[in-house]
Subunit: 116 residues, 2 copies
Amino acid sequence: MLSDHLSITYAALADPTRRAILARLAVGEATVGELAEPFTMSLPAVSKHLKVLERAGLIRRGRKAQWRPCRITAAPLKDAAQWLEHYRDFWDDSFDRLDDYLGELQSAEKQDGRTS
Amino acid sequence: MLSDHLSITYAALADPTRRAILARLAVGEATVGELAEPFTMSLPAVSKHLKVLERAGLIRRGRKAQWRPCRITAAPLKDAAQWLEHYRDFWDDSFDRLDDYLGELQSAEKQDGRTS
């Protein structure tokens, strides 16, 4: 079930090579050849990853037939980051408080279990 | 290639049901039955999603044999958010400046192309 925008973005990010390609493109646009250089990977293999990134709207490719440089597009990354932002409380200080609270709930449930 | 931690997290997030389950668990721990309620989905189907989330370290399940409540664990979400943070510049104000800069680069390249 990968029909929604956010799922397509996360699926595209679920690969170290594709994340490395995005990291390279964050520095500036690059051709497929330039992107392939740091990897022990064929050009077709890199092109396949680029297609996944392009379908997810994470990169755009130039219109020049031969050269076609790739560049990063930010909107899907922003949406992906914003979804994760909702969970920030869980890794900030307040998480400890939530953890305590859940611990208390569990203890209360155990006691309920004993008395019923 | 889903062997690395970050890829496993993003792959787990690449599904609307699994994200909905995490949203529900952000409110508090819940049983499989409680998690299945809002979905038109069988318990085994929900259990399958929970296994993916558990393997990704995004949830933990209680040890009680019958009840086994699920709760969210934040560390992988934090890592996923931190990776995306590196790209914040692309969707903040500075993106416009970067965009202008890349535009200038392209114009310069076009001019180089004409003169060579």
